[in-house]
Every structure is written in C-alpha cells, then in structure tokens.
Amino acid sequence: MGKRSKNFKELYPNPVPITLSTDAYGINLPDIIPHNPISWLIFGLRYLQIQAKSIPSNVVRVDFEDDVFKVLDPTDMNRLWSHGFFGKGSLSRSDPNWADRTSARLGLDDDTQQGRNASEEITKQRREERKRFKLERAKVQNLELKQRQGALNEDEEVELNDLRETLNNLKKIVPARKAISTTSNSLREEDEVLLIEGLDNLEYLQLQAVESFYLKFALGAIDIFEQNESLSSLELFKKCNSIDSKFMLNYVVYHHFRSLGWCARSGIKFGCDMLLYKRGPPFSHAEFGILIIPTKQEFINWIDVSSVARVVGGVKKNLVLCYVDEPIEDIELSEVSDIASLLKLYKVTEILYRRWTPSKSRD
C-alpha cells in the first residue's frame, strides 16, 4: 500500500491545474531559518529571481455545447484529470482513457506504451481471477460433500488434495495492478474504421457545472466557449444558475471543501450529493459522503436521511450533513455582479451522522 501510494504521489503531484512557479522554473525556495541571515538572503534572491519571470499559465479550453461542458483536447483532458481529478471521460468509467484502451485492444501500441493500464482493465482482470477462484472452490466443496457421503474414490481423493492446494495458492495471489495485454480479442466490425483512418480520439472529458465554475471562477484555469464566444465568470455563473436551480447550494459546498484541499466529486453513485476524497480517487476510497440541506428547508423526512446514511455507511464512508445558510434577503441571481461577495453571504455547517448500535458501543 505504501509503495503504491508513493507511486501515485509521483504520478499526481498537483491538486489543482495551476503550476507552481517553483516547479515551472525549477527554482526551490529554501526554508527560512529565523536566526540565520544567510537563509533569508538566499530566500530573497530566489524569490526575486522568480518574480522577474512571467507567471506560469496553462489555460484549458472548455466548450459548452447542449448544456454539456466538454474538454476535447487529449492533453487538456489529461491535465484536468491528473491535476485534481476534475470531470469524467465520456467513454470511460472515470479517467478519460478510451484512446489508450482502444489502441491496446487493437494492438496498436508499440512496446514503450505497454503496461499503461486502464483501471477498467484491471477491474476486469480481478473479476476474472475471482471467478476462477469461485469455480475451483465449488469443485472442492463438491468433492468434500462426496467425502462426507462416503462416496469418494481414490482418484477423487487425490484430486481433492490437489484442488485444495491450488485454492490455497489462489488465495495468496495479490490482485493484479497491471492488466495483461488483451490483444487476443478478435476485432469488431466497426474497428476497421478506426484502423484505416487512424485512431481518432472520440472521447471528451465532461465537467459538472460546479467543476467548470470552480475552474473558471476560483482558479482561472479554464476558458469557456459557447459557439466560439468566450464566457466570463459572470456569464457562466448566470448560465449555471439557469440550468440548475440548486447550483448555488451545490457550488457553495463544493467550493468550501475544494478550498480545504479535499477532492470533491459527484456522489450520485452512493445516493448523496458529493463524495470527498483525500487527494483523489486513485489514492484511496472516498472517506465522506455529503448530503446538502438548505437550513431553511422545513421538512426533512427521517427515511430520506437514514436511507442515504445506510448506503454511505455500507461502503465504509461517513455521512456529513451539510447545512447551508442562505442570504437572508432574497437575491436575484441574474443581477449579481460581484460573485465573491455573494458567496460570502452563505455559510456551511457540518453535522456528522452515524448509526449507533448500543450492543457494540458498550465496552
């Protein structure tokens, strides 16, 4: 585990798609030792050295089409995914790896690319291993039954022992982290087009509205275009609010957790509004499920909350109820001009919800 996470730390060192100046120019700022004036001097020099250079900037283009936020360029897609895990590949489970998977399937990879494995492949392989294990186990159980019934002949007894051995070996196998190449798959009819015209990336990265707005308004890391016209933060803000009436609530909570360094992603798979990852999905499972509740909401059904809690608790996550105080006065969102000041009128309160089992809390 430790080795793996270290590997991921090298793969994904950046929590946001912003390049640190120290990284961009390879200049490290030394620690300041208060009683050592030389360290101050070195720090000052390096600091000025960096300030003299231009601010590193790497802005990603996002297209807004049919109410969908799309990133089309493969490098940009990769940048947004690997720098903070934004968006989802439209043809993939999470990270946009359709092109990789397809070229591996069609055998187009040269040797250097071998071993880049999509999580989908790894999952598939793990499932196959599991299936094999279950098959073997069923065989053992059948023979054991026969043994109990006293109908086991000598050959079968040998077989039983052998099977037990294999089963034990299978148990020891560490689940694969690298998928074995699956080129042996036969080609599909539609693959011909891909082979003849060259592998064109058909996939785009789709961003949630809150993600797009966070990248644009908070980080300034993307430019958004609608029919090739650039959208300002304010225009985007109004657009998002017109698409989704709960956008403000969602964004307030999203921004709150993102600005605390959490990787927040959609919680739809677990029936809640958001999931919180430390660092990101490749590193560890999400630790918290977030349920957003406007403070002014008067009636909340017990069953609604307990059903979410049960699902979230069942996958070893903690449920957090996020109560959001909204501005007291009614604000016409279409007339807002200063978004930051508006956001400051909201307030987030976290309440932790956990099932309590008396029989297990006693000792």
Binding site: F299, G314, A340, K347, I351, R354, P358, K360, R362
Partner: protein
C-alpha cells in the same frame, strides 16, 4: 462500521452450553443430505431446548414487592433488595435505618415487573394504615431505646400483601402507568432496550455548568493570547498588495510557491467552527428537543447520586410526530447537553470488538504489527503520523466531541442515530492539541487544509 450482519445474526443457542465463543464466518448448517448436517441441526435444537429448560424463578428471600400509588403514578418499594437499584428509584424515607425504601417512576416500575423481578400490588387504605402503624411503632421504639440501634425490622414482613392488596397483572400495570402520557411507551421501549443490554440509564439531568459561561471564559483567554503576530500581519498585508481582484476570478494572477497558499487564498465561504452556536444563543425554537436519558456504559463504580459525565445522551423522537431535526434544533441540543468545554476529548469512537478467547483476531495482529513498525520510525515521522491520525479522528467524530444520540421510534421499531458537531475547517476552538503535534507548533497553520 459495517458489521451490521453481526448485529442481526440469529441467536445461536449452543453458545449457552459451551464456554468458548464460536468463531464467526463459517456456516453452521448447510443441508446437503448427509447425516453430518442434520446432526448439526439437531444439536443446535437440543441446545436451545436445554437452555430453555433451565428452571427460572425467584428465591423468596430475594423477593421484591412494590405498591402502585395510582394518584402519584409511582410505585413504592418498601424494602430494596437485589442489584437493580444502582440506577433505579429515588430513595424514600423509611421507618428503619436498616431498610431502604424507594419510589419508582412508571418506566422503572414496568421495567422491573416485566423482567419478573418485582411483584406489584395496587395501593389501598389497609396498606396506608399499616404504614402509619409501623411508623408509630418505630417512634415509640426509638423513644424507649434512646438510640435506635438494635430492633428487629420484621414488622415489615408481617404485612400480607396477597390477602390485603390486589395483585396487578402486567397489562393492568401498563394501563395504569402509561395511560396519562402518550410519550411514555416510546420512552419505555428505549429505556428497557438499553437496560437489557446492561447500560446504566438515568433521566437526563443538566449537570454541567452552562456551556455559554465557560465559552465566554475561553474567549477571554484566547483574546489575551493575541494570536496574530506582527510577522503574520505584515505577511498578509504584503499579500493583499498583490491580490487585486479583476474580472471575477478569485485566485489572483501571481507567482505561487505552495499549494497550501493557493488553497488559503481560495478560502471564501464562511463555515461553522466548533462552539460557534454558543455565540448566537437565541430564544428557544418552537419544537425544542430535550434530552431524555443520560446513559453510562456498565461500570461497577456508579453512584446515582453523584454520577460522572454520561457516556451518551439520548433524545427520543417519533417518526409519527416529528421530522428530522432542523439545524437550530440540533445546535440547541448540543448547547443544552452535558458537555465540558475544557475536556477536549473526541468521544464515542466505536469500541473495538474484543475476542477474549481463541487468540488475537486478524485485526489485533494487524494493529500489533503497525505498532511495531511505528515504534521503529523517526520521531519526526511518528509525530506527523500522530498529527494526521488526530486530524482524521476530528473529521470523523467532530472536534468538540459534542454529540447526542437520537432514538428514533417508528411504530415500535427503534433506530439509534448519533449526531455530532462537525468541523472541517478546524480553525477555531479545540485545535490546540493539533497545534501541539504539528510540525511547527509555534506557527499557526490551517489544520483544515488536507493537502
């Protein structure tokens, strides 16, 4: 955690006949047509019958009697005996020093009757006359003996309950005890459930000093410390020079050297931090929830007169009558619960399940190994591990430890939920322990930023 199946498991009667707690995991009974399996089933059945066949009863010496006073809606126990009264009953004046008497509330009365520990009778005048007679006897004896040291208490036993009083059936008692207050049945359900699991349960009592007063003291102390140093003030001033806000983009276009500083400049949304709700202590909300029970884990040292801080505080809610509590209701409960502000402990972490027999569990072995690995590490790394562990605990269980348990009753089914005060920004009270463990204890850092 996720060991729900453990809770819902079917009673295995064989446990009663053996000393060792059986290992979980393997199926006991999976019919396959062989004798082995049907024998297993038969064994289990016999074990159950054997367990049920054990004679149950009460020794006459230990017999407890209570008298229900309909007008008081309470039961009087003239002579306390047995282990039940550690957390049950309020002492009553008794004619004798040796004999203790107590009053039981409806819930306690029904609980003791239902578990078969008490025989209950309906109060009438003949008993009252008997009581006065004893009292007079006692006064006379005291007069004649000077000091009431040695006199027999047998008078009490002489009263023939059976022939003088009407014995109450359980159904009758239920009607007498719970009819005047519709919430009592629900309360009783929760009470009896917790009692049967061995918990010590008392009615909720506001026992701590008001949290608000303590809070003000804390705030004063904090102010004296003058947390912002000149250096930090200067730093934030210089930073503000660079960040001129243009075109509705929050993050100023400038050189960044650490991601922490980026996150810091993104902090914008005001968020709740520990004890904030004490500041705006408002008028009570309309449907104020009040704690119902204080609950302690079973402990031999327990005094109902001077109980320690309760381990859990229970609120009772009914799905028929209320919706999920609003934020202000929840915060009001935090504020009115028994909580010591300065005892900064993150409580109620789930207890680890102990397997006393059959050697250490896998979890214990893993914990042991982790411990060994930890002890070999550099102190600096150990510190950072401790820091992160403490932080994770605070995220998961809250920073202040303020919490309460809602016993939710849905048509007779009880579900328990723990609600605690969360604090993901970790920027206010209760972070001193984190500060101490952090890599640079002298510099105030943002503990809430997890990057």
């Amino acid at each position: 955690m996720s060991d729900d199946e453990e809770v819902d498991a079917i009673q295995d009667w064989k446990i009663l006949t053996q000393d060792v707690v059986p290992k979980r995991g393997d199926k006991d009974f999976a019919p396959d047509g062989t004798l082995v399996q049907s024998q297993l089933l038969e064994d289990s059945r016999n074990a159950m019958y054997a367990a049920l066949a054990v004679r149950r009863g009460h020794t006459i010496k230990q017999e407890l009697v209570a008298i229900w006073y309909p007008e008081r809606k309470e039961a009087y126990v003239p002579h306390l005996r047995g282990p039940y009264f550690k957390d049950i009953g309020r002492p009553s004046s008794s004619p004798s020093n040796k004999i203790q008497a107590a009053w039981l509330n409806p819930i306690e009365t029904v609980y003791l009757c239902e578990r078969g520990s008490v025989r209950i009778f309906l109060h009438n005048d003949s008993y009252e006359r008997y009581k006065t007679r004893i009292l007079q006897n006692y006064i006379q004896k005291e007069k004649s003996q000077g000091q009431g040291n040695n006199f027999d208490d047998d008078d009490d036993e002489q009263f023939d309950f059976e022939s003088n009083l009407v014995s109450l059936s359980l159904a009758h008692l239920y009607a007498l005890a719970f009819s005047h207050d519709s919430t009592l049945v629900g309360k009783y359900q929760v009470y009896s459930y917790l009692k049967r699991l061995g918990y010590l349960v008392l009615d909720f009592k506001d026992s701590t000093t008001r949290q608000l007063d303590e809070y003000h003291k804390l705030v004063e102390n904090k102010a004296n410390e003058s947390s912002i140093s000149i250096f930090q003030a200067l730093k934030s001033y210089t930073l503000s020079l660079f960040s001129s806000k243009v075109s509705n983009i929050l993050l100023a276009k400038r050189h960044y050297f650490t991601y922490k500083s980026i996150f810091r400049s993104l902090r914008l949304i005001p968020s709740y931090s520990t004890y904030d709700s004490l500041k705006k202590l408002k008028e009570p909300t309309e449907n104020k929830l009040t704690p119902c029970f204080d609950v302690w884990k079973p402990t031999p040292q327990f005094s109902k007169k001077n109980p320690t801080q309760p381990d859990f505080q229970i609120v009772i809610a009914n799905t028929n009558q209320s919706s999920f509590p609003s934020l202000s209701q929840i915060q009001e409960l935090f504020n009115s619960s028994n909580h010591m502000l300065n005892s900064n402990t993150t409580k109620n972490t789930p207890a680890t399940i102990k397997n006393s027999s059959s050697g250490p569990s896998k979890r214990e072995i893993r914990a042991q190994r982790a411990k060994e690995r930890y002890s070999k590490l550099d102190p600096k790394i150990q510190r950072s591990i401790d820091y992160n562990k403490l932080k994770d605990k605070k995220f998961k269980f809250g920073n202040s430890g303020r919490c309460f348990i809602v016993a939710l009753i849905d048509n007779g089914v009880v579900n328990f939920v723990n609600l605690s005060e969360g604090d993901f920004s970790l920027a206010g009270f209760g972070t001193d322990d984190l500060q101490e463990l952090s890599s640079n204890p002298n510099e105030r850092i943002d503990h809430g930023i997890v990057w």
